[in-house]
Amino acid sequence: MELILPFIIGILFSASLYLILHRHFFKLILGLILFGLATNLFLFVIGRLTRGGSAIIEPDENVAVEPFADPVPQALLLTAIVIGFGIQSFTIVLIKRVYQSFGTTDLDDMNTTDQIEENH
């Protein structure tokens, strides 16, 4: 399992970057979601995978019994998932608004703020 997960993370990162670099809005959304997923999975794996042992301290002991899964990455992950979810939903609503007011799904049409206005 520990050998497969890094590969999955790598594939997710590259696929998401590929999608983000596309011009279509929908692929942008998919790319952002996948990028967030890849990051979260990375955070999860970086805390070392321990199966079966949770870091719960028994009533008559002072520390949890080894081996236990590190709870800190799990807490980080939970926070990151929630924040990522918020941002992703904001992005989706934003892209929908952009689609409604511009009537296009092509990111290449969105270059007016970069242009130098000559004859205003």
Partner: protein, 502 residues
């Protein structure tokens, strides 16, 4: 009381935002709560600075979990100075938005979001925990997203989509960096990390890699070359009250995080970081100022200048001597104020003439001499002409560069100063000096009420100019404090001992 003092810059905007959400329907009530919160925040941050100045670094453990297990809040001189500058600009922007922002945007939650944004700024400056830093950055970024898109005009939406996408990527880079740090060192407390990286057991290569992730993440947020392209594409799109605050402070908070991390934690491989920062600083300065020179829009020129000025702050970090870091700190303080003020001035101009395009503007020197003087002071401060504030920051940076024989970067920075004067002269010539090309009789005559509005809009600009003149003409205490702050930053033992109570 000491613990409360550190919490206050976080609690006041938080409670202010919550309270104003209760009065969603009444803009007047939100304005009253907003001004109370701004005044309290200003007082609280000054009290915090005086306290730290007397007693050294202050820490508090949230929820009484001892460091390094709980979340620590740390206030040293550097963070307190940024918090104060943030609250001064917050105050000015708040005063500006009462008359300078349209009613529709004000009714859709502008005041609560502004307060939460200030909450994020204070939190990011005061936290002593890596993951907590990420969370505060998210707080302020989400508010920036909302503020940039607030109102939903076409340019705003377009700017917002660029801003959101690139910042989402930056956030994830930050998370990956945090993951690498936790995976190699097993801690997230900045003070404990600072201890751990200095032990021989640390993996220098992995820590370097994490450092580069942080450099990319905060480099995007601080708009460092070559990661700055989102900035001139989005910062000029929202109404000026919003641009002024975001442009003034958000990139500098990214810079704050970079300086904090690369003076405290990622200091083990300076053979790599210092040349890298030097090159990045030089390019950031030059490309930013060249971009500004090619623009024809008041706000876009100012946006590109943000990039250019970020280069100076990075230059201090690249030189890495106490004087250079002090120069960076002074420069950040000066730049937050001056940049906000210049944006506010462009807002006053646009409020009177309805455009930001340099070609259409003109003749303001005769119409609004007071505004011209205010612009003149801010522009010369930005360019670094003595005795205004920018000069002292650049002087410290240049002196520090000469002391360690880094002539190239100093020469680049001085040349960029000249180019900055060029852009400021361009604005001066086009907006204030030349005759107005097309005189629109409708715009020339102002009603009694419009004139009163326009005079009220001058108020925040005057306040900011007073502060800019203060730190320029009476620079001694600010420079001394910046030097103390730099010593605190470079002497990591002080920070570590204050947090871990050794």
């Amino acid at each position: 009381m000491n613990h409360l003092l550190i919490m206050l810059p976080i609690l006041i905007p938080l409670y202010g935002a919550i309270l104003s959400l209760f009065f969603w329907r009444s803009v007047r009530a939100q304005q009253v709560i907003g001004i109370l919160a701004q005044v309290c925040l200003l007082i609280a941050s000054f009290m915090l600075l005086f306290d730290i100045n007397e007693n050294g670094i202050r820490t508090t453990q949230v929820g009484s979990w001892p460091a390094p297990f709980g979340i620590t809040l740390v206030a040293d001189l550097f963070s307190a100075m940024i918090v104060i500058t943030g609250s001064i600009t917050g105050m000015a922007v708040y005063l500006f938005s009462i008359k300078g922002l349209d009613k529709a945007r004000q009714t859709f939650g502008y005041y609560p979001v502004l307060l939460v944004l200030q909450l994020g700024v204070s939190g990011a400056c005061l936290t002593g925990d890596l993951f907590n830093l990420f969370v505060w950055f998210e707080v302020l970024l989400i508010c920036c997203f909302v503020l940039i898109a607030l109102g939903g005009t076409k340019p705003q939406l377009e700017g917002a989509i660029k801003y959101v996408t690139i910042n989402f990527l930056a956030t994830n880079f930050l998370l990956v960096g945090i993951g690498v740090v936790y995976g190699t060192l097993g801690s997230l407390n900045l003070a404990e990390l600072a201890v751990l990286v200095r032990t021989p057991a640390a993996h220098p290569a992995l820590i370097n890699m994490a450092g580069m992730f942080f450099l990319i993440a905060f480099g995007i947020k601080a708009a460092i070359f070559p990661l700055f392209f989102w900035l001139p594409a989005s910062y000029h799109t929202p109404p000026i009250a919003i641009s002024a605050f975001i442009a003034g402070i958000i990139t500098k908070v990214g810079m704050y995080a970079l300086i904090r991390l690369f003076t405290l934690v990622f200091v083990t491989d300076q053979d790599l970081t210092i040349p890298l920062f030097t090159v990045l600083a030089g390019f950031t300065m030059v490309i930013g100022v060249l971009g500004a020179a090619s623009q024809n829009d008041f706000r876009k020129i100012l946006s590109f200048h943000i990039v250019s000025q970020i280069g100076y702050m990075l230059m201090g970090l690249a030189l890495f001597t106490p004087l250079a870091i002090a120069g960076s700190i002074y420069f950040i303080i000066h730049n937050i104020m001056v940049k906000t003020n210049l944006f506010l001035i462009s807002g006053v101009v646009a409020h009177r003439h309805g455009t930001f395009a340099l070609k259409k503007l003109g003749g303001l020197y005769l119409q609004q001499p007071l505004l011209s003087v205010l612009f003149f002071i801010s522009a010369f401060s930005l360019a670094g002409i003595p005795p205004f504030s920018g000069f002292w920051g650049k002087f410290m940076l240049a002196k520090a560069g000469f002391e360690i024989d880094s002539f190239v970067i100093v020469l680049v920075s001085l040349a960029v100063s000249l180019m900055t004067i060029f852009s400021m002269t361009k604005i001066w010539n086009e907006v204030f000096w030349k005759k107005k090309p097309v005189v629109d009789p409708l715009l020339e005559v102002m009603t009694e009420q419009e004139q009163r509005h326009n005079r009220l809009l001058h108020l925040p600009v005057v306040i900011m100019t007073v502060f800019i003149l203060f730190i320029g003409l009476y620079a001694e205490p600010v420079v001394a404090m910046a030097q103390l702050a730099a010593e605190q930053l470079l002497n990591s033992e002080l920070y570590i001992n204050a947090v871990l109570k050794r």
